[in-house]
């Protein structure tokens, strides 16, 4: 099991995130991930200062040496995929191969979709995500690549340098369990961040039993033989090891390979940046 922290890109700036990433590395975490939002419109975040995740990830790459870094999650659907290809390759190079790219359809409550005329239709965003991932893979290959999709058209081109990591920068995909199409998308890549869906959207936390089913689905349907991660995000108390272990251990046994500690403290609730720093310094749950 590997352990990461996820931090907001709201109410912090790039330098604070770079310092927190350094603290996380010292405290023994394996990864530091930050939100990729442009401008959240939810009640608790509306009007709050927001930091560009790519500038922040670069600053984090400069203050750390071994933690994995990445945006959690990037919506390629409001970006130009070739631009994302250049950014990720440069960042992978700068971090000496430590970048992970988690992706999703995008949250349309972000002003980056809703207030600037981006695509809001779910089906279309799903198509755009599929095409974006094909384009990222093609451009990262360093080989001549062209693409003629529904949404994107690229004449033959070669993008170099390639990322440091081979065969590619690991891509984690949000998978709506148990929706087959969404799950199949994730299986084509390198990891899944499962989200439990009912008839009307999200239906609560995944239990260890759910994870076992997800794992079974992966074993049955994934054809690639490369490593594949199952990622879960949640909270554990940093000052109660027994409790932390009781949360994480059953998930690890069920097949989770990355536990992401949601360190999203907001000033009015848990002490803001200092609250986040404290939780980070307490380190990951002591499960092997």
């Amino acid at each position: 099991m590997q352990y990461g922290v996820t931090l907001p890109n709201v109410r912090v700036d790039a330098r604070i995130l770079a310092d927190l990433a350094r603290d996380a590395e010292v405290a023994g975490w394996d990864g530091v991930f930050i939100w990729d939002s442009l401008h959240s419109e939810t009640d608790d975040l509306k009007g709050q200062p927001t930091c560009d995740p790519w500038i922040a990830l670069t600053a984090m790459a400069m203050t750390t040496e071994c933690v994995r870094i990445g945006p959690l999650v990037t919506p390629p659907t409001r970006r130009r995929p070739w631009k994302l290809a250049r950014e990720t390759a440069s960042l992978d190079q700068l971090s000496n191969g430590r970048l992970i790219l988690p992706v999703g359809l995008g949250y349309v409550g972000d002003a980056g979709f809703s207030k600037v005329g981006e695509e809001l239709d779910r089906k279309k965003r799903a198509q755009m995500l599929d095409e974006s991932l094909d384009i990222l893979n093609g451009l990262w290959s360093g080989q001549p690549f062209s693409f003629d999709g529904e949404h994107y058209h690229l004449q033959e081109m070669i993008f170099v340098p390639t990322p440091v990591q081979s065969p590619r920068i690991p891509i984690w995909v949000i998978g709506a369990w148990p929706r087959k199409k969404s799950m199949q998308r994730a299986l084509r890549y390198d990891g899944i961040i499962p989200a439990k869906m009912g008839e009307d959207g999200f239906s609560g936390e995944l239990t260890p039993a759910d994870i076992q089913e997800v794992k079974l689905f992966i074993n049955e349907h994934r054809t690639a033989t490369t490593p594949f991660d199952i990622i879960m995000e949640g909270e554990t108390p940093g000052d109660d090891h027994e409790k932390a272990v009781s949360i994480v251990q059953p998930l690890a046994e069920a097949g989770v390979t990355w536990w992401l500690e949601a360190v999203w403290s907001m000033p009015e609730t848990q002490g803001g940046v200092e609250g986040m720093r404290n939780r980070i310094k307490q380190g990951p749950p002591p499960v092997g």
Partner: protein
Amino acid sequence: MKFGLDIPTAGAYADPRKLADLAAEAEEAGWDGFFIWDIVFAAGESQEPVANPWVALAAIAMRTQRIRIGPMVTPLTRRRPWQVAREAVSLDILSNGRLIFGAGSGYQARDFTSFGEEYDLKIRAEKLDEGLEILKGLWSGEPFSFHGKHYQLENVTFLPRPLQSPRIPIWLAGGWPSRKPLRRAAHWDGIYLMTVNQVTNELLKLEEIREAVAYMQTYRESPDPFDVGVNGVVLDDAGKAAEIIQAYQEAGATWWIDLAGEDESFEEYRARIRRGPPRYE
């Protein structure tokens, strides 16, 4: 006169850490500005590697304390302006207010047409004007709406504001004797004059710089300072340097921006950067 560098992001330069190290050396040597290209592909049909300028600039901001930094220039027309607005503010804060935002309408067809992006000059000019208004509006920190021909924004408030006030300086690229880009630049905070006359293809003469500056002055609406960046010849003779720089200064230039020579290797240019800007007092 301030002294800046116009640094490639392709070929031997296509490595953000190398660029950050070079910027730290430039700062140490006394240069005032370290500006980098914003391109998708290297010039012509070249298949050279290219670095992403925003990742590189953030790395540069982390390695330097004093030197001004920025893209020279970002083709705003192939980006989403709100995305650029966010990146620029984060970078301005990370660099403690050292960003100069160089903008242009785009200058390499391949960076546009290979992706099916619009490359019609007139439309790019429109998109550039709209994009700059959006940057200004989003950097204000006030509720902002925009209803243009190419972009529509509905009541967006972007925070934080940049560290610099009233805004991150915006310089436009412009080539003499084209008048329209000069009028556009006059509306903002500075111009980066192209090295050569766009008609004769010869190095811009002092007289032409003087004429361009005078032309822009007639269109200035703001009493705030206006920067004029120019490229000149390599100043390897200290005695002559004072004379040449003074002449450029009198013509209206405020930034002397050095370019790598066409046949100068990365290591040769690096050595020249480490020798510092021309000493001329």
